[in-house]
Amino acid sequence: MNPSIGKPIDRVDGKLKVTGAATYAAEFPIKNLAYGVSITSTITKGRIKNIDTRQAQKMPGVIGIMTSENSMQLHYPAGSDPGNGKFAEKDLLPLQNDRIFYGGQHVAIVVAETFEQAEQAAALVKVEYDQQPAAIGFEKNIASAYKPASGLGGAETQIKRGDAEMALQTAAVKTDETYTTPVYHHNAMELHATIAQWDGDKLTVYDATQSVMGVKGLLTATLGIPSEKVQVYALYIGGGFGSKGFTWANTLLAPMAAKQFDRPVKLVLSRQQVFSAAGRRTQTVQKIALGADQNGKLSAIKHATTSETSFVDEFVETAGLATSMLYSCSNVDVSHELVRLNRGTPCPTRAPGEAPGTYALEVAMDELAYKLKIDPLQLRLINYADIEEQKKKQFSEKSLKECYERGAEAIGWTNRKAEPGTLKEGNYLVGYGMATATYPANRSASTAKATLFADGHAEILCGTQDIGTGTYTVMTQVAADAFALPVEKVKVKLGDSSYPKGAQSGGSQVSASVGPPIRAAALGAISKLINLAISDSASPLHGYKEEDITADNGRIHLKNNPNNGETYAQILNRKGLEKLEAQAKTNVSTRQQGPPVPAPPGSPEAKAEEESKNNKAVQEDEKTDRKDYAFHSFGAQFVKVLVDPDLGTVKVDKIVGVMDIGTVMNLKTATNQIMGGMIFGIGMALMENTQYDPNNGRVVTRDLAQYLVPVHADIPEIEVHFINKPDPYISPIGARGIGEIGITGITAAIANAIYNATGKRVRDLPITPDKLIA
């Protein structure tokens, strides 16, 4: 049987989605369901003086109104890891007191028999506030910037090697510019939504989340209930882009209200509310200074980022991290500072750090290339990093030079004229731009369970989720190959916290993390099956050795005599077994320092861990020496733009992305992911931005009419290419994650192409017509 991994198979859930049969969090039909509507603060900072609910309480259908006066007390969550339950605003558990830290903060939940009744009553709740002076406006508060201790997951935020300052002073050629990016909102199609149902002391939650296990962990901690009493479902997710990676108040408010009013409660944030109460990407101001010799060899890179966070948690947009490893350079100084503002808390957004970071760095590189009069592509090659210089490690696999080559050819890089404004098509100025893409290749510990059934089909259970990226599909391929079954015979089940713990969908890590244990569990099941046959005198394989036997298309047989064998179903049926199970846990992390952390004793993961000691696939995988390698994906983005110089409008004419992400597991879903990232990049370069009122600090542009994302008419011809060279160290599958790299570099490539067309260097995103006619 030919392997399924690598085949461009259709999404296994495609039909369910296009027919509307896939059930998203807010769509579960729950009996006796009540509807919650959130009321949010209309001040930016202060205290709630009074909430008058009298009129609203009397409205038809109203079941109750939950405020900080009557809501249940939550326990403070300990975790800061989204996979184990990271509450996005650790100092602002919802409805616990009267303090207001930002506009749009939840202040009350109206619960009624219908959504319409809840909406109507919510409009009648009168909230009085004591306002306090708030920190409004990034620039106005920049003097209060401080250096954070670390970023997400303990990421370093201040990185140094050599002496960048000194090297800059003596550099023959220098650039020193400031690049700014605005606030972005994820704007997943699916709004943040939760349904909570109590059955005695057991809680069931349907949630729009990138981490069913994280939500389970968080509910357990905050509500103070035992882990086995909580079950979280997220069968289908309509996009997260980071906004559903941390857990937001809606996930807690629904179970709180359901408990308080003794009814299952659904709570869906409105699009407007998502702009305040469900995360965002922060504004950044990035100062980048580059120094090089006359030949273009970099001698110094300084990258200082200031971003903002809230008063109720700390999130660092680590824009400078990629700068520490992207190019070969002896003197590097990367720093990050934060300003606190009275806004909702930021969180990971579409390649957090790398997306704005590669925009600034890669535009700076383009500026340096112009100063040096060196082709920008050539400048990247001159400074090609053969090793990860900060960590002094080899890359596990890096084929970036091939990416550059193929991208340059596909876009027609030789057509580019270095002198801006010299290439024309009709009324348009033509420009070409390029940039490097990069994103860390993450992998974390994950567990899966495999089951072979007597009817010949197989099943995988894994407590991860498919956030729309194609996880169901590619994991079906992984499992099919390991089970030696056609994909139609394999069912992959995800999005249920009662399954063995899988990775959260964040940091582009799901495929790399859950692929190996899914593979290992399936191989484990086949191994058990082979051993059943070997020890069974009724089997034609009786008495042979395991290593002499192989599996193919639902059947095991002797390697050297395929005729001698029998089907999985024959073995199981003869043994009277309905099914055969195997579990596997791979304790591999590309980020974690030190030895793997064992699963808590008695947990389902501990059982899988125990079983994995005898699982050859796990043992070989874990044996791989990874400590000497740095894991990163790379790519090259090439862009051709047409600019109308009089009207300042930009038409992206063609984009090419060539990605080096290890094994391509499914060309369709992989192309989909990269293309989506590139379209995000068009949005970031040309239109996306969130505006806050300069006087009261509240979000002004808070719907999809005011917050522009690209529409079809903005999308040009897109070419996505892959190097498709397996990464021998990331896992036996060889696939690195692919979720976020598509958005990196692309914004810079567009900005660079616009400069090449017009000679206008816009260092403040987005590049809108007003900036190009200025």
Partner: protein, 327 residues
Amino acid sequence: MEPFKFIRVQDDQSAIRAALTIGTKFIAGGTNMLDLMKLNIEAPKQVVDINKLSLYQIEELPNGGIRIGALVKNSDLAYHPVIIKKYPVLSEALLSGASPQLRNMASVGGNLMQRTRCPYFYNTDFACNKRVPGSGCAAIDGYNRNNAILGTSDKCIATHPSDMCVAMAALGAIIKVQGPKGLRTIPFNEFHLLPGQTPHLEHSLRQDELITHVEIPPIPYATRSHYLKVRDRTSYEFALASAAVILDIQNGRIQHAHVALGGVGTKPWRAVLAEKVLTGAVANEQTYRTAAEATLSQAKGFKDNTFKIELAKRTLVRALTITGGMS
């Protein structure tokens, strides 16, 4: 959303009778009104569905003009062969607005009545004189990149959002309305009101009146016309600046000129000063630029939208150049 009474009427007279009830709103396509109701910006006590009325005709008139029923869908008007042939500016303006789905729902009458997309008008937590008279204007000192530069007042700087209306302003359309006392005709430039001290009053239609038709006068030279729209994304976005242009050029000289601007005015902006410059002048870039300067000399920029003054000039020059060419 507030609860409301919903009725469906079969003829004009029933519609007008129903509108005598205070707090009544007609609904046709509902593409703007439903949003406003859901966001608690409008809370009609009674909503009268007029989609059953027979106002779907597009008729050529004996004088060469055209009469458009108020319920004609934006798409149907845009793709009507007579409109495409005789008034390309109108077809182009319609097709540059919204999305195909919205144009398939939106009616001509509703397009005339659509309200500003000023973000402060859309957010009930902010002051807005248009929404709540006397409450103030958060946009004037706020984020106002998309707000107006022409026809503003110290009470309101909200932009009129329509593309269709810009073409109709240039064409000098006439709005036919029916009320309890019979028919009335409103010239296009008198239909929408400047904000002045009363930005909540947006048009000269009375509570008990129903728009039945829009008439476009015969303009034989309107075959030479164009609508140009500049915006932050290629489709499905309101104008930063737009221009509707109709030019009658003979022997290189402009005999008649109709010009209107969108995205920059508090109402669809007939550019009378530009028309004055253009009429009788040689059709060349100098003339176009002078015309644009003349009209935009009245403009006043705010914190974030001063760029619109230059952008509107360039948009108009480009539209005139495309329409009139260079002689």
